[in-house]
């Protein structure tokens, strides 16, 4: 029995590691190769206080957690600005340096580590054998599972997945990505610290070797094999990997050395094998016991999608979620967006060279010009994706120069992308829901503690998202995975997502490109309807026929400035423009 609990204890500790890493790596997509190092921070902080300074468990425990939290937060800051290669290096260097420091400080026991850690004693009760130790441990493990599940399966978790799949698009729908990343780093590091502290008490000692890179890799293996993004899978992965060695020893009767080596060989090979053959792991992200039962009962799968997918019939009249009622025509409608004298230089290239424009309410303004004139750069400058060198931008009369992408999106200006950037692993409905503003469930305290409020908010967001989907005519596809849709449908979903932000100013980057004629008609119809609802729309397009049909007026851009303005017809009359666009004799 004791042996069972010995194993169960280790499984529980590693389950804590694996679940928290899965939240960070599998759900939020953030790279950390040194998860066990945070365990070391927790273990050594607590261990030092308990063994050397004679503290009792409770306060030492919280200091250990806090230390791991702080180190995690500190590490997350440079991680925001490094690319993948250097992130791997960063976490590797952290792990190695941390363990080297710990091994070098004599008070911490060097490579022999801290010893003589007393039995776990919480408020008078001592837990001195594995079966007793299991009781507080399982409570903590379940707590970690509960917190991570609440986070992962809430609107907050949806934002984390969105950050994982397309960070730029997620910033573009108004989410403060930096805050999310730093928070998740901190929380999961603290949980790793917790696991480390439990390991400290289980072993009644702490050595650097218990927290080194090899251990971190084991935890990654548990996540990869169990299933990235599936928290239950991490428990499965932890169980399999922890029990592998005792299994080899006791059941297969290998010598301890051979069992240890075989365990390493197997799990190392399994990591590579899974990445090659089944990258989603044993339990794919969307798998839950309930879903599995449902799948067993479901009728045979529908026929695969045919190549030609007919464009949807949009029903604009059903949706109410538009802006203010259509303005009366004539005169000069107010400019919702104004940009003045924008300048941006990339080395010697003047991407923007004194560019000014205004987008009026209830109008579609086209932005045309020869290739290389800098049109997409204008969108990037207006939305804050790249910083301006000079110039100012006003939205609703407010100076938004220098604002970040997500702040501008929340203020009422959002854009679509040439390459669409929908979230392929989420459903169509979720793709639109993510953009609905002011969702209580996207704030962590609500997701964790105010479940009812979160739930109500979800219902509202779902309702709004469905309305947007009805407007664009795709409500029938709401539950399909967005990645399975045809390109034209994806463009329409992206438009619905854009609408869900409730932005007044919509910047559409080549809405008619990459799709066939029927789909172009659908898009033009939707854009026209949006104009009726008072949106200020700017369209970058190269197909002049499309621009002619949809734009009220057009800016002609060449080498970084606007050189002409008017209707397409008027511009066509001007010889200068003909020369710039396709040359003239």
């Amino acid at each position: 029995m004791e042996e069972f609990f010995t194993h169960a204890d280790v499984v529980a500790i590693f389950a804590i590691y694996a679940i928290s890493l899965n939240l960070l790596l599998g759900v939020a997509g953030q790279i950390s190769i040194a998860h066990a190092a945070f365990g070391a921070v927790g273990a050594y902080s607590t261990g030092y206080l308990v063994v050397i300074q004679d503290w009792s468990f409770f306060p030492a425990f919280w200091v250990g957690i806090a230390a791991a939290l702080v180190v995690g937060l500190l590490m997350s800051l440079p991680a925001l600005y490094l690319d993948v290669r250097y992130l791997i290096l960063l976490t590797l260097a952290l792990s190695t340096a941390l363990l080297a420091v710990v091994g070098a400080i004599p008070e911490l026991g060097g490579s022999y580590g801290l010893r003589d850690v007393p039995n776990l004693e919480i408020f008078g009760t001592t837990y001195d054998d594995p079966s007793e130790f299991f009781r507080p441990l399982i409570v903590l493990a379940l707590l970690v599972l509960a917190i991570c599940s609440l986070i992962a399966y809430s609107p907050y978790g949806r934002v984390l997945r969105a950050i994982r799949d397309d960070e730029l698009a997620t910033r573009g729908v108004g989410k403060n990505v930096i805050l999310y990343k730093v928070t998740v780093f901190g929380i999961t590091s603290a949980m790793a610290g917790l696991a480390g502290i439990m390991l400290l008490y289980f072993n009644r000692s702490a050595q650097p070797g218990a927290f080194d890179l090899a251990v971190s890799m084991q935890i990654i293996a548990m996540v990869v094999i169990g299933g990235a993004g599936n928290l239950l899978g991490s428990i499965l992965g932890a169980t399999l990997l922890v029990l592998l060695e005792p299994f080899l020893q006791d059941v297969v009767n290998m010598s301890p050395t051979n069992a240890a080596l075989t365990q390493l060989t197997i799990y190392g090979a399994l990591i590579a094998a899974f990445l090659l053959v089944r990258p989603q792991g044993l339990l794919p992200e969307s798998w839950t016991p309930a879903a599995a039962v449902r799948a067993l009962r479901r009728s045979p799968p529908e026929r695969p999608e045919s190549e030609e997918v007919a464009p949807p019939k949009p029903s604009p009249r059903l949706a109410e979620t538009a802006g203010p009622p259509p303005t009366s025509d004539g005169g000069n409608p107010e400019a919702v967006l104004e940009a003045s004298d924008l300048k941006k230089y990339f080395g010697g290239i003047h991407a923007a060279d004194g560019l000014s424009l205004r987008l009026p309410r209830g109008r579609v303004t086209g932005l045309i010009g020869p290739n290389g004139a800098g049109k997409t750069t204008v969108f990037n400058l207006l939305t804050g994706v790249i910083p301006l060198d000079e110039g100012k931008v006003w939205l609703h009369g407010q100076d938004i120069t220098g604002w970040t992408l997500n702040r501008i999106a929340n203020a009422g200006m959002a854009r679509s992308y040439q390459d669409v950037r929908i979230y392929p692993r989420m459903s169509v409905l979720e793709n639109v829901m993510i953009a609905v503003p002011d969702q209580p469930g996207e704030r962590l305290p609500n997701a964790l503690f105010r479940r009812i409020r979160t739930h109500e908010g979800e219902k509202e967001a779902r309702q709004k998202a469905l309305e947007h989907l009805e407007f664009v005519g795709l409500s029938a596809r709401a539950d399909k995975l967005a990645g399975e849709l045809a390109f034209g449908e994806q463009k329409v979903v992206a438009l619905a997502r854009l609408l869900a932000t409730e932005a007044e100013v919509l910047l559409l980057d080549e809405p008619a490109s990459g799709i066939d004629i029927d789909w172009v008609e659908t898009m033009l119809g939707l854009i026209a309807e949006l104009r009726e609802r008072g949106k200020s729309i700017c369209v970058v397009e190269h197909n002049l026929h499309v621009v002619e049909r949809i734009a009220d007026s057009v800016y002609f851009m060449e080498t970084g400035t606007i050189t002409a303005e008017g209707t397409v017809r008027e511009l066509m009359q001007q010889e200068r423009l003909a020369e710039v666009y396709f040359g003239s004799a």
């Binding site: 290096l89 070098a104 060989t265």
Partner: protein, 307 residues
């Protein structure tokens, strides 16, 4: 802390210089592979171990003559690396799409763990350390500073390898092809280069250099199944410090510098703290790099680091 005498300081510096040549060569070996193929080839550690350990093992237990054993060992490391690229890295990268780099790294790490354990399983030896006795390690003395004959050979061979690699890249058609793939993979395809084949060639060259380093390492320290674990860290510290795609001669210089700094710090710090120094430097550089990415005008850094 007593201030060391000049002789002691020179000794530390000399030791550092010798170590530095090793660091430079392994940095070149690893860096070439990462710079051209983009694979974060952590399993380099296993190739290193295969080359050193099996050469030593064959000599000590199978009565192989030294030179054939060394050649077989190095060839084994090369073969391992090439198979890894063809059978693991390439398919994983294809499957992982945008996450190719991370996927390849994780797979590579898994292979490393499995590989090191497997070597030990195959050999089934309680005493896992195999000495490689070839070039003598008798001491030489120059002005109070000591080093061994092996050290002289090592520094000579390592620098020669670096110069040869530099010459290959600079003057031969193959070298031009490798540089082309590194500098502009798309244009490389446009001129008809089969980049997949180039990747394999780079793995061969890289693991050849690593294998040579492993043989000398085994002669100096004895070979073990996990002999690659520490060197691989130094390899990528040097590779990234020097900047991916740098000239082999520059990489050697950076490695030597690292060795000397580490050696001199031994005057002041214990060995444990030396590791802290090396990785502390790396951490600091990464933080600076991140700061530069955050506010480019406020934090300025040399161009090589910005890559």
């Amino acid at each position: 802390m007593p201030i060391a005498s000049l002789t002691e300081t020179l000794q530390f510096a000399s030791d550092g210089f010798i170590n530095g040549a090793f660091y430079g060569l392994i940095g070149l070996s690893f860096g070439l592979i990462v710079a051209v193929t983009g694979r974060f080839h952590f399993a380099w550690a296993v190739a290193f171990a295969i080359s050193g350990y099996f050469a030593a093992y064959l000599i000590n237990h199978n009565q192989f003559a030294i030179l054939p054993a060394v050649l077989i060992g190095v060839a084994g490391g090369v073969l391992f690396s090439v198979l890894l690229e063809l059978l693991v890295y390439r398919p994983v990268a294809r499957r992982a799409g945008p996450n190719a780099l991370l996927g390849v790294f994780v797979a590579s790490f898994g292979i490393t763990i499995a590989g090191q354990a497997l070597i030990q399983l195959i050999v089934q030896s309680r005493i896992a350390s195999e000495p490689l006795n070839w070039i003598p390690i008798d001491s030489q003395d120059v002005g109070g500073v000591t080093f061994t004959t092996l050290d002289i050979w090592a520094v000579g061979v390592f620098w020669a390898c670096a110069v040869l690699t530099w010459a290959l890249l600079r003057f031969t058609p193959l070298g031009r092809e490798i540089e082309a793939v590194r500098v502009n993979p798309m244009m490389a395809r446009v001129v008809g280069i089969r980049t997949g084949r180039t990747y394999v060639v780079v793995f061969v060259i890289g693991s050849l250099l690593g294998g040579i380093a492993a043989i000398f390492f085994a002669m100096d320290n004895a070979a073990t199944a996990d002999m690659g674990t520490e060197p691989v860290f130094y390899a990528f510290v040097v590779a990234f410090l020097a900047g991916l795609g740098s000239s082999p001669l520059w990489i050697m210089l950076v490695g030597t510098l690292l060795g000397v700094v580490e050696g001199l710090s031994a005057e002041l710090f214990s060995p444990q703290w030396q590791t802290v120094v090396v990785f502390g430097i790396l951490l600091a550089l990464l933080v600076i790099k991140a700061a530069h990415a955050w506010r480019p005008t406020v934090f300025r850094i040399p161009a090589a680091l910005a890559r």
